[in-house]
Subunit: 336 residues, 2 copies
DNA sequence: CAAAGTTGATATAACGTTATACCTAGAGTC
DNA sequence: GACTCTAGGTATAACGTTATATCAACTTTG
């Protein structure tokens, strides 16, 4: 069926042995100008491309890095992917993406597929509640791994994350400084570690300023879900004037709901998001947020996995990058 | 360095030969209950996962399908990916994604990487102006290919597309029926085939109704670009009351610009988009659009590549799916 | 002119797996 | 007891590539 040209075909056409053909194409060994030309021409004509399965079996690791992330659809993730790809491709690596949809079965299948295909390394956002057995699997295969955003409880892998607690402290403090005291933490789903860290930042500031019991409100990472959650929240707690959000997408959903309720974000209720996706700056009113540079985050990830590949014995390393406050229109002084 | 467990290790641990171990794990041949158990246990303990490079070299094609698309970040594409993955994964295939960023060099590298890695098949959105040589490359390797959205001029591959001309005819007719006559085609970049098809639909209706010269306005597929393009368009042609857009994203950008200009989409200017992304329904005012079900489109793509894989000799097949009009708030009667 | 180098090419093994052919020991048959 | 048969297992080749060792044909050298 599939009958791709192989080195044998190139060699035949050029009238040399496979060994010679290989040497020409690899640029190794001693070969005369004459045969070199003939082989190269033959390879061109046949559109020869080496079979990486054979190459990597014969001589070491594959220059292919994989990423397993939760949702390709999320624009923040897409930017991260760009950052990773640009750097790694410039070093001759291929980057391929799998979407785990935050589903444990799917993640398991994806990981096994990864190992089966002998990817060179893995950049990975572990799904919530990933079991110990997955760590065993990865360690058994000595796959170079960098976790991303979410730290994996059972594994000791390199990690690149965001200073979640500090970022949310800054965000919450921003609202407090504007005079707000009835502030809720909005969005994300229960028991997700990253969110827990962020909530810790939120409660820290609430406590430090003596501002009553924390209010935590769930919402899936999706604009529609954010909108509905806000409608529900407002019904139950109409006294709230400040929203610290788990992400820009839910924040925008919440703003949308407010407008439906005849409330003006930034005036009636202040809202601050997380990520600084493109829509944040373009929305009306424009969304205040904690900005993370996803493209640079991608670069950092690429650097980290490269370092691990080159120096497998280096101690495990964690890096956290800071988020910066971008105050736009959805946060404003509390009206008396 | 990397030292993953191999069949040899499993065999040693179970005290049998590699051949036997292989047969147990594959479930072929005749093996006693006793040894079967021992081998399986050993495999478990060692977290053995077969090396697909070796497997697929030995016995046929790889169950891995790749996709090369323009922009992972586009939410429409992300939905398509979901549709493809869900179906193919249920059949035991792995789906991996590459982002070509519509860049010819990058696309070339991605394709060669694909061939090097001997993927089983390819779902591909060809970049604009992809040269003949790429078709030669693909045919030389007899790679099963389905093109998607954009038809590739030089290749004869299966294709899944959208009825672009008909869809835009419907969209334009919708505006005409509402009384508009100064209608522009908005968004997309020059010389892109898909856009040309759509523009044909637009000009058809303009001509059929005797409505002056067509007005074509470029804008990259990006909300910010759409916004800026609309500002420019309005400066030059303030008389325009209808916008047929190349995509929802630019359409939303245009609506945003209108609001900045003090114009109300659906009242002062009617706007119709393309794709029906989630934000279209959630925007204020909500965006009228030509809806395509991206998830189903993904399913269709998956079906098509599977058929091609199973029956390599079937004649080349093209399928076009229709888009349906979703009239929301941004299209309204022309005010006298 | 024999010994030693040099040049340009090739034969061969190995990577991890599986399909095929082959082997051995015991059971059944006459 | 010599025979076939079967159950249960193993040795081996092959997939496409490359690194190593090897080889043949000249060239140089003393």
């Amino acid at each position: 069926m599939r009958n791709r040209p192989k080195l044998q075909d190139v060699a035949n056409r050029a009238g040399v042995s496979v060994a010679t053909a290989s040497q020409v194409l690899r640029g190794t060994g001693r070969i005369s100008e004459n045969t070199r030309k003939r082989v190269q021409e033959a390879a061109q004509k046949l559109h020869y491309v080496p079979d990486d399965r054979a190459v990597s079996m014969r001589s070491g690791a594959k220059k292919e890095i994989g990423m397993i992330i939760q949702r390709i659809a999320n624009p923040f993730n897409a930017e991260v992917i760009s950052g990773v790809s640009d750097l790694l491709e410039s070093k001759g690596y291929l980057v391929s993406i799998l979407d785990s949809q935050d589903d444990l079965d799917r993640q398991r299948r994806n990981l096994e597929a990864f190992i089966r295909n002998s990817r060179g390394g893995l950049i990975w956002v572990p799904s919530q509640d990933t079991p110990q057995s997955v760590a065993d699997l990865l360690h058994a295969h000595q796959l170079p791994v960098v976790t991303f955003l979410r730290k994996f409880a059972f594994g000791t892998f390199d990690h690149v994350g965001i200073e979640n607690r500090r970022a949310i402290e800054t965000a919450t403090q921003h609202l407090v400084s504007l005079g707000h005291s009835k502030i809720a933490y909005f969005g994300g789903e229960a028991d997700v570690d990253v969110r827990q860290e962020r909530i810790r930042g939120y409660t820290n500031i609430m406590k430090a300023n003596g501002l009553g019991a924390p209010i935590i409100w769930d919402a899936a990472d999706d604009k529609l879900a954010g909108m509905n959650a806000m409608l529900a929240l407002h019904k139950e707690r109409p006294d709230i004037t400040g929203l610290v959000c788990n992400g820009d997408v839910v924040a925008l959903g919440a703003c949308h709901a407010m407008q439906k309720l005849g409330l003006l974000p930034g005036q009636d209720i202040s809202v601050i998001g997380f990520d600084d996706i493109q829509d944040a700056g373009l929305a009306t009113p424009s969304l205040s947020t904690m900005a993370v540079r996803p493209y640079q985050l991608g670069h950092l990830l690429a650097q980290t996995i490269l370092t691990r590949l080159n120096e497998p014995n280096l101690p495990v390393n964690s890096t956290y990058i800071a988020a910066t406050l971008v105050a736009r229109e959805t946060t404003g002084k509390l009206l008396a």
